[in-house]
């Protein structure tokens, strides 16, 4: 299978309203919220969706070698990480993925939380976080769908730089391979993605 970078300039996902509420601390049966407040929060969520522009990228990369301590990609790039190596054990390929909610929503959150409307700011922030995660799930779902025809599938779960011994500095490598600048993401000297509602992850291809 050729490794070709796929850019998704416009990802549409069903609005994860319940997940946004849960991220904000809503607990079914415990949290009490009247119709007026619910209407306000829903309005803020709708506002968030008018600002969020989900984009993503995905790249299948052959795995040249997976030892207990190291993962070597077909591109020659290496990652030293026991946990990632364990996660990718038995896989012949890896899938690198990235997604962002875009810059406009971050500008709005900043404006709201630095003196505007902080209630709206926290709701929009939660919506952007949930929707970015959902965009990654969408990319995973797409590749799983394509892999079905090859009688293969992705590992359950995904692994991101910055967790365990998969050092955050390796986010630079993932960023470069995914050419995330093409969807408006930058990476700073601390290997943090900007806009900060941006994420990358690695999954394995099995079967």
């Amino acid at each position: 299978m050729p490794t070709q970078l796929q850019i998704f300039p416009s990802i549409h996902i069903p609005l994860p309203r319940d997940a946004i509420y849960r991220r904000l601390g809503y607990r079914e049966g415990t949290t009490k919220i009247d119709a007026r407040k619910r209407e306000e929060i829903d309005r803020h969520i709708d506002y968030a969706t008018s600002l969020i522009s989900l984009k993503g990228a995905g790249l299948r990369v052959p795995l040249r070698d997976v030892t207990p301590h190291r993962v070597v990609f077909g591109t020659g790039a290496e990652i030293e990480s026991d946990k990632l190596a364990r996660f990718l054990k038995g896989c012949t390929e890896a899938l690198l993925i990235g997604a962002t909610a875009g810059g406009a929503v971050m500008d709005a959150i900043r404006g709201d939380t630095e003196g505007g409307d902080m209630t709206r700011g926290v709701v929009v922030d939660a919506a952007a976080s949930e929707m970015t995660d959902a965009a990654l799930d969408w990319i995973i779902g797409l590749f799983n769908r394509l892999l079905t025809r090859e009688q293969a599938r992705l590992t359950k779960g995904r692994f991101s730089a910055g967790y365990g011994d998969f050092l955050l500095e390796k986010q630079r490598m993932v960023y470069d391979l995914l050419e995330l600048h093409r969807i408006g993401i930058k990476i700073n000297e601390n290997f943090i993605l900007i806009p900060d509602k941006s994420v990358t992850a690695v999954a394995g291809i099995q079967g």
Binding site: P2, I13, E114, M118, G121, V122, R149, I192
Partner: protein, 806 residues
């Protein structure tokens, strides 16, 4: 006998999987299937003939990925030759008596507005493939495994612009019943059958059991045969290999159910083999094919939803807001090529209850075609509602229909010659519905009788192009009551005749009736209710006008369109009290309105509530200490118990902040400076750009009377210590969201120790734990409420309640 005729007689059997059969016969992983087949003609020929022998009426060419995008990944560019040769190979393998279906699959890219592949490029890519397949003599086309409705449209248009050969289109649905891009099967059906598909359905997706429901959902709305090609069950990971485990007989046992649900063509997808197809054929032998239930359908669709406009359904409101006339901000945005206000208006109207959105971008100085295409692209991503393409320019409408990823409603086609001659064929080509406007050249007919003649004349021209009455919505033609008091009654007569005699859907541009009169919402609402009683099915209106929306749901109920009053009750129970027009009676005025306003997070009313409290002789300091502080304390308690969640906590904190600011002139010597409980320096540590949590803590601390200096985010340890040395806080509060930046908290603590700073540390953030805080000698706070408590504890007896204003 044509395929269409054969489908009427019996179930047509398609073949099963090709890819997995090729893998079994030696195709290596990573090979280009199309090129491998051309290099191994005997093997693919054997696969085709084995399906023929199994009883397939149609075998599929091995051209699923034979498009320019996919083939070029393997270094092959002669798309037409690959398709032609593979089609010839299939024909040669199966001989006469079995049909050869030219297989067309996704390019792997998404098409605008959902991706970066230009729509016309997508059409051209598919035309290249279609030409090759036609050269190879295919009998029909099978567009399959599609995920993106826009790419599917591009493929179908490519076929239809080159040939009238039978074309089946199947999409792939996830377990939740939608494609990955969110299209449900009924929406796909409405879009694709109106665009000219000869059969529509689903393939791949799931196993047969799950696919039955998709076929069942489509059947009532189908004007064409339905296709089902399920996988051999859901794939399972067994010993590192992904396998389809459903047995042949189990797979075949679903055949009869598919027939009873209305499938007309049956086959298999991933994991199926000739044996599955043989068993399937045996299972449905003799079964009667259920024909489509209808010849036409009144329905429109977007990429992700559809609206059926038939039967005694609730009135559909077409949101009229996306129109620059009289809206300067929208005019400016459109001229600058921005679409954020368009998206916001769409979301607002959707929330207010619109079923469709009218899109009009006509204004002086604008490239209307460019603007309309941008608006359609933007709205197709931002909103699920079907669009009404509203323009006086036929070229704009044609361009919009080509790009629109659904079945649109055109606003409008009148009896004017230019409109009927130019737009009716365009509407027919793209399968759009249209609003029939009973106007002719320079003539606005005043009476219902005159309008009827125009309606019948325009419809006769439309019928000649294949339109049914279900495909049109007739405008009742609303004129202003202020200029002719008889005009509204003529409109109602027209609506009644269209509804009862002509038997078509009706629409009115509601607000025209009140033009030039005061209290327009009341008049509009009354007229709407009257029109609903005459059978009105749609109204172009502003769903943000409460009177209109209230009238709409009330009229639906009274007209028997709202069974058990369910929609009416749901509508009014969801509206917040003030939107319902409810006024709080005097006996319901809370005992302490200030307390209640903070508790409710009522930022809008806190100032007026405080104003009334002051006017009633209240003392500002007592209001703060006796009402506001207890209220915010109770909010913290409710938050701790999870009875409040974050937005409620923040709203109350903001109400408190706003209230304190309002009271400041009255607080005098008891003002904020005198309330200081202690000084706190707060920052998000070096390397971390996340600061919303820190901002929340800052708000909470300030509300409780702390003097907080916020140093911002990504702040180096040296800067924090330098500022702390200058400000001399009781507490340094540090925030971090990531494990990689959390470690920088330790550096701050250690640096403070080196410089002998006399202060305590409080830390928090998503990844920070109490154990970590303990390990660096800091205090931990899990959220803003706890941060206040920790800060109070740390400052108690130190500089609490000291006058820190100096």
């Amino acid at each position: 006998m044509s395929l269409k005729d054969r489908i009427k007689e019996r179930i047509i059997i398609l073949d099963g999987a090709t890819g997995t059969e090729l893998q079994k016969k030696g195709m290596p992983a990573g090979a280009c299937p199309e090129i491998w087949c051309l290099e191994n003609p005997g093997i693919i020929g054997a696969v085709h003939s084995s399906y023929r022998d199994a009883g397939a009426d149609i075998v599929t060419t091995a051209t699923f990925g034979a498009n320019r995008v996919k083939l070029s990944q393997y270094g092959t560019h002669d798309v037409a030759r690959v398709n032609r040769d593979l089609a010839l190979l299939a024909r040669s393998a199966v001989g006469a008596g079995v049909l050869v279906g030219g297989d067309i699959g996704p390019t792997g890219r998404f098409v605008r507005p959902f991706g970066d592949l230009d729509f016309e490029d997508a059409v051209e890519i598919y035309k290249e493939q279609v030409r090759g397949l036609l050269e190879g003599g295919v009998d029909l086309f099978l567009i399959e495994t599609m995920i993106d409705i826009q790419e599917t449209r591009a493929a179908l248009i490519a076929v239809k612009e080159l040939t009238d050969t039978f074309t089946s289109v199947t999409m792939t649905y996830e377990a939740h019943g939608r494609t990955l891009n969110g299209t449900d099967p009924v929406t796909a059906l409405i879009t694709l059958q109106s665009l000219g598909a000869d059969a529509v359905g689903c393939n791949c997706s799931t196993g047969p059991e799950e696919m039955l429901g998709l076929i069942e959902a489509m059947k009532p709305w189908a004007t064409i045969p339905l296709v089902a090609k399920p996988n051999a069950g859901m794939p399972e990971l067994i010993d590192g290999a992904t396998l389809f485990t459903m047995r042949e007989d189990t797979f075949a046992s679903f055949g009869a159910q598919f027939v009873s649900k209305g499938a007309n063509l049956l086959g298999g997808c991933c994991g199926t083999t000739p044996e599955y197809i043989r068993r399937l054929k045996e299972a449905v032998a003799g079964g009667r094919s259920i024909p489509p239930a209808r010849d036409s359908i009144s329905a429109v669709s977007s990429a992700r939803s559809s609206v059926i406009l038939e039967g005694r359904r609730a009135l559909s409101i077409v949101g009229e807001r996306i129109n620059p006339t009289g809206k300067k901000p929208l005019q400016e945005e459109l001229l600058e090529g921005r679409m954020s206000l368009v998206r916001t208006m769409a979301k607002e109207q959707e929330r207010m209850g619109a079923s469709l959105l009218d899109v009009n971008v006509g204004m002086p100085g604008i490239d209307q075609k460019k603007s309309m295409l941008e608006a359609i692209g933007s709205l197709s991503v931002a909103s699920d509602l079907p669009l009404v393409i509203d323009s006086s320019d036929s070229n704009v409408i044609e361009a919009a229909l080509r790009l629109y990823p659904g079945r649109a409603l055109i606003n409008s086609i009148s009896g004017e010659r230019e409109k009927t001659e130019r737009l009716l064929p365009v509407a027919a080509k793209y399968g759009a519905m249209f609003i029939l406007l009973p106007l002719t050249e320079g003539n606005v007919p005043e009476t219902a009788e005159e309008r009827k003649k125009i309606i019948e004349a325009v419809f006769a021209k439309a019928a000649a192009l294949g339109f049914a009455k279900a495909d049109i919505v007739v405008d009742g033609l609303v004129m202003a009551a202020s200029s002719d008091s008889k005009a509204p009654m003529e409109t109602l007569k027209t609506v009644e005749w269209i509804s009862d005699v002509f038997k078509a859907n009706t629409i009115i541009g509601l607000s025209n009736v009140s033009f030039g009169l005061p209290e327009r919402p009341s008049l509009n609402a009354a007229f709407l209710a009257m029109a609903v009683s005459k059978g009105l099915t749609m109204a172009i209106a502003n769903p943000g006008v409460e009177e209109v929306m209230n009238s709409s749901v009330a009229a639906d109920l009274l007209e028997g369109r709202d069974r058990d009053a369910a929609a009416y009750i749901r509508y009014f129970s969801r509206r917040p009290p003030e939107a319902k027009g409810k006024r709080v009676p005097s006996h319901e005025v809370p005992a302490d309105p200030v307390f209640q306003a903070v508790l409710d997070g009522n930022r809008d009313d806190i100032e007026s509530v405080l104003s009334r409290a002051l006017e009633a002789g209240g003392d500002a300091r007592k209001i703060v200490d006796g009402s506001m502080v207890p209220a915010i304390t109770k909010v913290g308690m409710l938050f701790d118990r999870r009875e409040y969640f974050l937005p409620q906590l923040i709203a109350s904190a903001e109400a408190m902040k706003k209230g304190i600011a309002y009271l400041e002139p009255w607080l005098g010597d008891a003002g904020p400076a005198k309330r200081q409980k202690g000084r706190i320096v707060i920052a998000t540590v070096k390397g971390d750009v996340h600061d919303i949590g820190k901002n929340i803590v800052t708000l909470m601390l300030r509300n409780q009377g702390f003097e907080v200096t916020d140093l911002g985010k990504d702040v180096p340890a040296g800067t924090i210590i330098q500022e702390a040395a200058r400000i001399k806080p009781s507490v340094i509060a540090l925030s971090a969201l990531m494990t990689t930046t959390m470690v920088n908290m330790r550096e701050v603590v250690e640096l403070a120790g080196q410089q002998s700073l006399d202060c305590q540390f409080m830390v928090g953030g998503a990844v920070v734990t109490k154990a970590y805080a303990d390990s660096i000698g800091a205090h931990y706070a899990k959220d803003g409420v706890e941060a206040v408590r920790v800060a109070e504890k740390l400052t108690l007896g130190k500089d609490s309640d000291r006058d820190l204003s100096s």
